[in-house]
Assembly symmetry: C2
Homo-oligomer: 321 residues x 2
Amino acid sequence: MNEPLPDFAAVVAAAGRLQGRVRRTPVVHADAFDARAGRQVFFKCENLQTGGAFKLRGALNALLSLPDPARVARVATHSSGNHGNALAIAARSLHLPCTVVVPEGSSRTKVAAIEAAGARVVHCPAGFAAREAALATVLADKPAHVVHPFDDSDVIAGQGTAALELLAEPLALDSVVAPVGGGGLIGGTALAVRGLTEGCAVIGAEPASADDAFRSFTSGRRVDAGVPDTIADGLRGSIGVRNFELLRRHVDEVVTVSEAEIIAAMRIVLDDLKLLVEPSSAVAVAAVLGGRARRLGGQVGVILSGGNVDLGQCPFLSGGP
Amino acid sequence: MNEPLPDFAAVVAAAGRLQGRVRRTPVVHADAFDARAGRQVFFKCENLQTGGAFKLRGALNALLSLPDPARVARVATHSSGNHGNALAIAARSLHLPCTVVVPEGSSRTKVAAIEAAGARVVHCPAGFAAREAALATVLADKPAHVVHPFDDSDVIAGQGTAALELLAEPLALDSVVAPVGGGGLIGGTALAVRGLTEGCAVIGAEPASADDAFRSFTSGRRVDAGVPDTIADGLRGSIGVRNFELLRRHVDEVVTVSEAEIIAAMRIVLDDLKLLVEPSSAVAVAAVLGGRARRLGGQVGVILSGGNVDLGQCPFLSGGP
C-alpha cells in the first residue's frame, strides 16, 4: 500500500467542490419499514441523485480535482454502468469527450443512459481483467485521463459526501450501512462517519454470491471476486487496493445477504418507502432487515446508492403496460 | 352556496398548525422526465408523506382546528382509503377513537393501513350515496365528530399546505397541476397558488372515465360522478360543494386523461423519478405528458398526491417474488 489514502479532510473538500453541482438528496423514513426492521431507519436517497446514483459525486470530484484540467483532452473509464454514466455527465458538464468501457451483462438502462449523456460506449466481456484490457486498447488508440470507478482517492472522497449530508441531519445514528462493490462508497462513507461521529458503526453489505469484501475483511487479505453471478450488477467488481485499506481500518462489520433477500428488500422499499432502488442498494436494506449485523443499534442510516433498474427485467416487474 | 369558503389565510394558518406534525416532503425532478415532457417539471412528493399521501394535512388540520377538542369523544369519516388512513393517524396522535366507512373496491393496501393505524373499519357498497348511508348508520349507533374527506374548509385549507411548500422552492412555476377527485387538493392548491403567485396557472387533472369535475367546470354546474370505473381509486368521488366553488373561481383548466395514459405515467414516474405513485397521482403526471393543457408553460409543478399501491394488483407489477 504505497498510494496515499484519502482522509476526512478530503471528503470535506470534496463537499465544497460539489456544492451546487450535485443534488442534496432527501433523507426519508417510513413507520411501516421501522415496524418491519424493529428499529428506526433513515434512508439517504442517492437513487434521486442526478444520473440515478451516488456515483456523480466521485466522478465529478475527480474531474474538478485535476491539477491542470486544460491539459486533459478526454476522459475514459470502465464501468458496469453507474460510474460510466456519472463520468459521462461530469465530463459533459466540463465539455470533455468521454469513453466508457462496459462489460457484457451490464444493465441496458445504464448503458442507454451513458450514451444519452453523450459518451462513447465500448463493449467488452464480463470480468475485471477483460475490462482493464479493453480500456488499455482504448487508451492505446487515443490517450485519455482515466477515472477509476473506485480505486481513486478523489473518487472515494467524493462518494463520502453522501454520508456527510446524511450525518448533517438532526439524528443520532448508531450505525450507517452502505453496499460494498469496489469499495468507493463504503470507503468514503467510513471517512465521513469517523470524522463526524463518536461511536457510530460503519457496516458494509455485500451479496453472498459476490462476497470478496467479506472474505477480504475476515481474512485480512484482499481477495478477488472473479466473475460473480448476482442480481446486484453494481457490486460485481472486486474491492480496490485503497478501498480495502479503508475497509480494514475504518469499517466495523461486513455482512452478506442472499439473492432472495435482495429481491425481497427491493420490493419492500417500493412498498414501504415508495422508492425504486436498484438491487445493489437493496443489499444494504436487506442487511438491515436480516438483522445479522451486530452493530446496527436502534437508529440506522442506510445509503440508498441508486435507482437504475431495467423495469422489464426486474423479478417482480413485468414488461408491460 | 351558503357555507363560507376557506381562503389563503386559512391555508397559511393550517401550515402553522401542521408545522412539525407533517413531513415537509421533498421536491424532485429528473432530466429524463423533462426530456420526455419537453419542459421542466418539479414534483412535490406527497407519496413520501406520513400515511403515503397528502391527506394527513387536511385531516390533522381539521382535528387541530376543533373549537373544543375535549368535547369530541370520537371521530368518523367515509373514505376510499387515503383520507381514512390519514384521519386514523391524526386521531391516534390526539388519542381519539376513529371509525372509517370504506366502500367496496377500495385498495386493500389502504384498508390494511387504516386498520394498522388503529381505526375501526366498516365496509359498505361502492358509490357516494352508499358511503353516506353507512356513515349515518355508524353515527346513529355512536355519535362522532365527522371529518368529511374533502367538502370541509379545514380539510381544504390543510391540503393547500403542500402547494405552499412547493411554492416556497426557488422556482418560477408557470403552472401547478394536481389531480381532482372530491376537490380537496385542487381547492387548497388553488388558494395557495393565488395567494403566493401572480399568473401561475392552476390545472386540475381527472380520469376521463370519472370526469365529473371536468363536466362541472365546463358546464358551470356541479354534476355527480356516479360510480365511475377508473384505476385511480382516489378520484372516484364527486366534487364537493365548496370544492366546486373554489374550482370555478380559482382553477384555470381541467383536463382529462385515459386509463392507458394513467398506467403509462405510473411506469414513467417509476423509471425516470424512481418513485412509486398511485394511479390518482399519475393522473396529474399524465396530464403533463399528454400536453393537452394550454397553460402548462415551461416550468411546471406537479403534486404527487400519494404512493399507496397494491403491488400485487398493479398492471405492471407481478405478485412476486
